[in-house]
Symmetry: C2
Subunit: 231 residues, 2 copies
């Protein structure tokens, strides 16, 4: 069976997209170039800020640019699409409605992963930008799963938001890592036995704190892309 | 002035393309996503092997696929193109002739870099796949520069070729690093005061041996892409 070509809506941020591509390569068994999957990647950091549109409520709507990007990837030969950003999945219906090829839904993939791999899970912490909580993106998918989604308290949420902004600005200092680990510890104290890394900037940080299992949405997405491409 | 969008012919190999994207990001001064440059990347590892076509003389011609990839990137909105593979520049005339947008020539950029940054250079070692020596790609560009291009002896060339194959197979062991450093030492003994890293797999290895300055063609290409995008 012919392998499928993946189209990736990226650039949100650009480094997180590179991190996703690296994960795809590592998850693909390969002895030479040809064993790897074909990915057409639009690493477009000029998409209007999801944060400004959702959190600050002042920014331009990113949906029209995401739709154009999806259509261009389809025209360029993608057989299916993936969106390399948790928050951008708020615009999933617009994107999926604008193309004739399947679009992987990262949050649905995460839920499927949890249901398959983590039995008896009743609550899960979410490490993400405030936009994820504001939009209720994870709740909307998890609503009938029996898994409750919990978020950090407002002060820790602000700290975590700053971690994301620092990663976007290229800062991966020890202080940034410490703040991230503090947010993980806080969610563990709030009763999370497991946390979802639900922001591709945090995925790119690639930190694994002690005593708290993490399921990384970017890793789950990378696996879904490889599986779909290989058929 | 509006920034330009880069189109990148990639996948030769896929990890080397990710390495180039990472270099582009690191070379771009940025405080947030929007400061980064827009890159449309066709990470296509299904392009017929340049090695098989040039070294073994048995493989399918990669030129038609490279041409199609270039035209698709132009149609997708790229304002200029770059080819993320030294050897594939053997097909540069076919690619450049098939589109109406500029195509950066990595080898020309390397020569410009050397002429500007390294005065009185009379000979330079080339760390590359045998396809580079067979095609005379570097000589064809360096011919009137006064800089002589030198290659490893056949046994070391074979060792270096194996290093490239190992990187393509995901092997970055200490042995691979040692073999690479051995090839560098050999070229230094042959009189190279400086070597060009002229294979993007070797760029992705990112090894800097003692006592031999390296100019990495991937790094020079990344800088050329950032400069062209920023205008």
């Amino acid at each position: 069976m012919k392998e499928k070509t993946a189209g990736i809506l990226g650039g949100m941020g650009p480094e997180a997209t590179v991190d996703l591509m690296q994960r795809i390569i590592r998850l693909t068994p390969a002895k030479d170039d040809i064993d790897h999957i074909h990915c057409i990647v639009d690493n477009n950091p000029k998409i209007p800020s999801r944060i400004k549109a959702i959190v600050e409520g002042t920014g331009e709507d990113p949906a029209p640019d995401l739709v154009k990007m999806a259509q261009r990837l389809e025209a360029a030969g993608a057989d299916f699409l993936a969106i390399a950003c948790n928050t951008a999945h708020y615009y999933y219906p617009a994107v999926a409605g604008a193309v004739d090829i399947p679009v992987i839904h990262m949050v649905k993939e995460v839920l499927d992963h949890l249901k398959t791999k983590v039995p008896d899970l009743d609550r899960v912490g979410v490490l993400a930008s405030p936009a994820i909580e504001i939009t209720g993106l994870y709740e909307s998918i998890f609503t009938h799963s029996g898994i409750r989604v919990i978020y950090p308290a407002p002060d820790v949420r602000d700290t975590l938001f700053n971690v994301i902004r620092q990663v976007k600005a290229g800062n991966r200092s020890a202080r940034v890592a410490k703040d991230y680990e503090g947010a993980c510890a806080h969610l563990r104290e709030k009763g999370a036995k497991l946390c979802i890394v639900a922001c591709t900037e945090l995925s790119a940080l690639d930190i694994h704190p002690d005593e708290l299992p993490l399921v990384d949405a970017a890793q789950v997405l990378a696996q879904a892309i490889v599986t779909m491409a290989k058929g």
